[in-house]
């Protein structure tokens, strides 16, 4: 599993998390290229099915990044997002998947360093967890084929 580079999807709200990501970029603070950002007007737009589909298509980890609690530009979109992340985590638990593959993160627009740091931490966490269970089978199959 040495060369495993996780594929991470990050749903970022336009008003806070995406702006923070922008700030990280303009300040030349780097964060892992594993993180693919999807900009949404508000994390309240992210539904449970979006997270599930990302995992279905092979994402190793998904996080939803929104405004700080109480500061959502649209009042409580980030609270709805948190509930939906928890809903997905319940499904993952029932399926025997690691619930840490999915997370809710809060930050303000000015937290460029924080954005970069959390992106790095999340990527590292997923690296330790290994590839998504649906990819693992294929990797095992390939390794078996190689050793034979």
């Amino acid at each position: 599993m040495e060369n495993f580079e996780p594929e991470i999807v990050a749903f970022c709200c336009h008003y806070c998390a995406y702006t923070a990501a922008d700030m990280a970029g303009s300040k030349r603070i780097s964060y892992p290229p594993n993180v693919k950002i999807i900009r949404v007007p508000c994390t309240g737009k992210v539904d449970a099915i979006h997270i599930m589909k990302a995992l279905e298509k092979g994402a190793d980890g998904v996080y939803v990044a929104g405004c700080l609690e109480g500061d959502c530009h649209f009042k409580n979109g980030n609270t709805r997002a948190r509930y939906r992340v928890e809903h997905v985590q319940k499904y993952l638990e029932e399926l025997g998947w690691e619930t840490d593959r999915v997370a809710m993160i809060n930050m303000s627009a000015g937290m460029g360093e924080f954005f970069a740091r959390t992106a790095l931490e999340f990527t590292q966490k997923i690296k330790l967890l290994g590839p998504s269970p649906i990819k693992r089978i294929n990797i095992d199959k390939n390794q078996k084929a190689v050793s034979e």
Binding site: D47, A48, I49, M52, K53, L55, E56, Y91, E94, L95, W97, P133, I134, R136, I137, N138, K141
Partner: protein, 222 residues
């Protein structure tokens, strides 16, 4: 409406594991309202099942469909175009819907994906509570609009029992004593005298005691 809750995934997976092609059918009425089996939940369940089977290196073919209602033959008929491409049907409707599908498509196994719970109403967003037991002889007119059959833990018609505590039922401090509620309503309506009238022993036949029930309206049959 009829409330339901999704079954544990492990149980659903056990039902459908032997099959390769599943027709997953939701319902646009009651189970949509209580977020257990509507279009959204169909999508989520389909995704969750895919995640499970992909993890085993197996692809399963899930066709998603949501009918207006599953308890009417006309709507269930709409599945006819998909039925031959399915090995089994997984229904997210209440027990009534599951059975209507099973009756129509006798050659395909049908599995329930939700546990049907009770007839209830929304108390507030996300909270549904039991309100009706379908006793077939509604007495809400004489109990101030509160049902002792559905809401009293002992279905007393001459309550309350001696176990009330702060207006709550003896079974839990979170369950209101139906008879305390009834008494408050009767007072508010100026109908206290009604309380002293003894409600006679109930005839449970209309409530299902006489066997499975049916309503026949000949004026409505073509």
């Amino acid at each position: 409406m009829i409330t339901a809750e999704q079954k544990p995934l492990s149980e659903i997976i056990e039902y459908i594991s032997p099959y390769d092609r599943i027709l997953l059918v939701g319902c646009n009425e009651c189970v949509t309202v209580c977020a257990a089996g509507g279009r959204k939940e169909v999508g989520l369940l389909s995704s969750a099942l895919n995640l499970h089977f992909l993890k085993q290196g197996r692809t399963i073919d899930i066709k998603e469909m949501t009918l207006e209602r599953q308890c009417d033959p006309e709507y269930v008929e709409e599945l006819v175009s998909e039925i031959d491409r399915a090995d089994a049907i997984l229904s997210m409707a209440c027990g009534c819907g599951v059975q209507t599908i099973a009756e129509r498509y006798k050659e395909k196994p049908v599995f329930p994906a939700v546990n049907t719970k009770f007839m209830g109403a929304s108390e507030s967003q996300g909270i549904w509570a039991e309100r009706c037991r379908g006793c077939g002889d509604c007495l809400l007119g004489i109990t101030g609009g509160i049902c002792p059959v559905a809401r009293c833990s002992k279905q007393l018609l001459n309550g309350p029992c001696g176990g009330t505590s702060n207006g709550m039922c003896e079974i839990s401090p979170d369950v209101e004593c139906a008879w305390c509620l009834i008494w408050e309503r009767l007072k508010a309506l100026g109908m206290e005298k009604r309380y002293e009238e003894i409600m006679e022993a109930k005839d449970w036949r209309p409530a299902g005691g006489g066997g499975p029930r049916k309503i026949i309206r000949e004026d409505l049959s073509l």
